[in-house]
Symmetry: none
Amino acid sequence: MLSNIRIVLVEPSHPGNIGAAARAMKNMCLEHLYLVSPEKYPHADASARATGADDVLDAAVVTDSLQAAVADCTMVLGASARLRTLNWPQYDPRQAAEEASKASQTSRVAFVFGRERTGLTNEELDLCHYLVHIPCNEQFSSLNLAAAVQVLSYEIFVADQLKPREKIIEDIEIPANQLEMQRFYQHLENTLIKIDFLDPDQPKKLMRRLRRLYNRAQPEQTEINILRGILTAVDKGFEE
Amino acid sequence: MLSNIRIVLVEPSHPGNIGAAARAMKNMCLEHLYLVSPEKYPHADASARATGADDVLDAAVVTDSLQAAVADCTMVLGASARLRTLNWPQYDPRQAAEEASKASQTSRVAFVFGRERTGLTNEELDLCHYLVHIPCNEQFSSLNLAAAVQVLSYEIFVADQLKPREKIIEDIEIPANQLEMQRFYQHLENTLIKIDFLDPDQPKKLMRRLRRLYNRAQPEQTEINILRGILTAVDKGFEE
């Protein structure tokens, strides 16, 4: 579906930004770059910043109007630095990415980025179905062009992966079960008594605190084995 | 709360990336930039790319080790391009931002970015509680450094805006900071050698495993004091 999504840069003036945008896109599995009347393209600065995304950069489609760049798209989203007074349907990047992801299942979608200094003209905004505003510091709101492409490409990629992102723990090891934890705590308590750290007549809340600490870590079996190995080594020293 | 969050760049080689990172941060209301042994700083390229974020760039704190840059932080998140084989707790940017946002209500949080080419060393990863992986094209996964800072800063800003504003009523104790954790690990290692559990010539991955376990629990200061008290009691027994 990502192959149905394109990034359109309107009259980008810095070729470095074009290259960096290509790299940001490729990082997020986007490959279709459109350039509307770029000031300098192709250009060495663009290639330098693309580092490895030369294929995306070289395949960029150059057009002389935004209209031409989005003609075959059914959804056009315009990135906008400021909240327009115009009463335009507006998304944040996450919503925009979700909508684009849905639409891209059946048709082509364009994310449009305006000029570095002046953004999109009103005529160009007229071609957009929605505006996308990247939430940011209202006192310093102009993101670098490639940085804005990076944020939206990232959201598009995440939305495309569909599933809510769960915490990834590769190769989950077996967590210690309750019985193993109890045996560990018993061993720990015995050792603490043996080394005179815990007074069984005045235990206070020491064991409870330690339980809380280790329970929070949710130790794996292997880890509990290591900890018990340490306790056994300590025990030996105190028996001699 | 955003003022409790810092961005740490470890040995960045391109000054342009430092400037672009400063701009990305300021766009997202982050202001504390730390540079560990930057190759070129200050530098004209950094200033050029910062465009308007000179204040963040100029206020950057330079240190000569990652340890020094995160010493007073209670949560350290390391940006990692690849999924490490080691079984490390790993977040995606959204989860990481949410956790950081919560933690930053009471203490300092660091997001750490490694070198452009080689990332973070294993020793530097040992200082991290969590890894953060920006989901991306597995065939072209190396984001530009400043682009990675942009994505994470954006997620941090969004998480900060979304988080419930009510005060946490729970009686939060002060978490141990990185320096206290390092001292604890050093003490633990010494004691393990003393009791013949750890062979300094054949350390294998024991300390790394133990770090992972305790980092996961995010111990409070009081808990670290208890653990060090136990180690001291053990030390005494082995000196007699």
